[in-house]
Amino acid sequence: MSVLVVVECDKGEVKKSSLEVASYGAQVAQALGTTATAIAVGEASEASLASLGEQGISKVLYDNEARLKEFVNGAYTKLIAAAAEQEQAQVIVLANSNIGTSVGSRLAVRLQASLATNVVELPRVEGGNFIVKRGAYSGKAFSDVVLLNDRKIIAVKKNSIEALHNAGQTAQVQSFSAQLADTDFADAPKQVIMQEQTGGVPLPEADKVVSGGRGMKGPENWHLIEDLAKALGAATACSKPVSDVDWRPHHEHVGQTGITVSPNLYIACGISGAIQHLAGVNSSKVIVVINKDPEAPFFKAADYGIVGDVFDVLPKLTQAVKELG
């Protein structure tokens, strides 16, 4: 029996959300009295995989096959299933990302496991039940879910738990092969197109987010959002009306029918705070609202607020960040 952690890598590095996943898996393993092994997917370097020891991982499996550098649902599923069998994994932990959940849902059927996605806390065992807490109703609620099958798969929401950093610990990296066939690559990408990221980080992975709404009055004013985002090292986002009128691309749309984010800091500029938007952001640790309307509903969900004109306030904030260094 062991815990298997699925670690997503990009450009040689382990993604930040996967450091949290690894830490989650290591803590589950400790509670179960066993060890945590990782299976790495994507483009990884041996050094970054070995450093997963800092997150409590004892062993990392990696298949260096070129076609696995990009996400392929069929192949990733087979690879991880093979690793789970070899390691006799009772619990599999992955990121609540498009990759993690796509693979997790196939694995659940293949391995006859119970799957919980969008999980926000470490599991607990009560009266013999294995229970996880997860987000539901698009950020408006949480639910406790019992995973009934012997095998369990948990997809951990980003920024829900702290990553461990036990300096100096290293994991043993082993090559691994699942004997993949061409048919496992039926959904292999013909092309991969990455977006330009304002703060250098994709929105779902971002620690800080600066977001604009209709109060920004037009796409030509977005440099105010981008300047603050750059100064903070934040990603940029927007409300639904803004992406609906094409001021900003849809992948920046945060809300109930867009991306749900959970950064440490969410700064909303000229967004009134409709219930659908709040659902997408209310698991952010700190929410700042800037709006000239003191009655904007968003202030009720905020930690800090400025009642004022975004065109006047944003440059002052950018300046203050630069002065602070």
Binding site: N98, T117, A141, V145, P202, H251, K300, V307
Partner: protein, 245 residues
């Protein structure tokens, strides 16, 4: 081309969520139920592709009789017929088994649904259906075009997208900006009344998970207001008090 569109019945996006006193179920009093917004992309795109390529669109819901108004709405938007699996959708695995059974029986070429339901937020059913049927799933797709039996899709990954080509049959989960979801017109509403809606009983195994309790998020302490004239103070508070920058 035979399209199967799976829809779920969810509280309207403006709903203020509350639970029954034992916190075991949603308090449905006064709640308006709608077709899951993500599923609307799947439905409209299937209808568009049918108009282009010929074939049929069947809409499928796993739910009790109270979901029928929204199934009729899907027929009014342009689906040809409907199937309701008469059961409470207890969890993703249970629902996926029902969809897979209907899909196998009907020999559908393309099985579409939204990327997730806005109530359960599982992002699981499409992958499970694909696995149960042994066919590819592309999730979440922002674009779906078809030429013969080949589909070209844009799949969103964190920070970008992949262009993927798959052959029928396959499962696809849909999200914006795949199409502009349609709303029913008067003629659609009239014809929907007489379109076939078949009710079948559930099959397969039970659920793999069970919800024991719901909870609302903790309330915020209240907002700390900073004077717009001294906006820079906010940055110092974020550094020294909130410690997030």
């Amino acid at each position: 081309m035979k399209f199967l569109v799976c829809i779920s019945n969810v509280p309207d996006t403006t709903t203020k969520i509350t639970f029954t006193p034992d916190n075991k179920e949603l308090n449905k009093a006064g709640v308006q139920f709608v077709i899951n917004p993500w599923d609307e992309y799947a439905l409209t795109r299937a209808i568009e592709l049918k108009e282009q390529l010929g074939g049929s669109v069947t809409v499928l819901n796993v739910g009790e009789a109270d979901t029928e108004p929204n199934i009729r709405k899907a027929l009014a938007i342009g689906a040809d017929d409907a199937i309701r699996v008469n059961a409470k959708p207890t969890d993703a695995f249970f629902v996926a088994q029902q969809i897979a059974a209907v899909a196998k029986d009907g020999g559908y070429d393309v099985i579409l649904m939204g990327k997730e339901s806005i109530d359960y937020n599982g992002f699981q059913v499409h992958g499970m259906v694909g696995e149960l049927l042994g066919i590819p799933t592309v999730a979440p797709a922002m674009k779906l075009d078809m030429s013969g039996n080949t589909a070209t899709l844009e799949r969103e990954i964190e920070g970008g997208k992949e262009i993927v080509e798959v052959q029928t049959p396959f499962v696809v989960s849909c999200q914006e900006p795949m199409c502009e979801p349609r709303i029913p017109n008067m003629r659609g509403i009239m014809t929907a009344r007489t379109k076939p809606l078949k009710v079948v009983e559930a099959t397969g195994q039970g659920a793999a998970t069970q919800v024991t309790e719901y909870a609302l998020p903790p309330k915020k302490q209240g907002v700390k207001l900073i004077d717009a004239e001294n906006a820079g103070d906010l940055i110092r508070l974020l550094r020294n008090e909130a410690k997030v920058i």
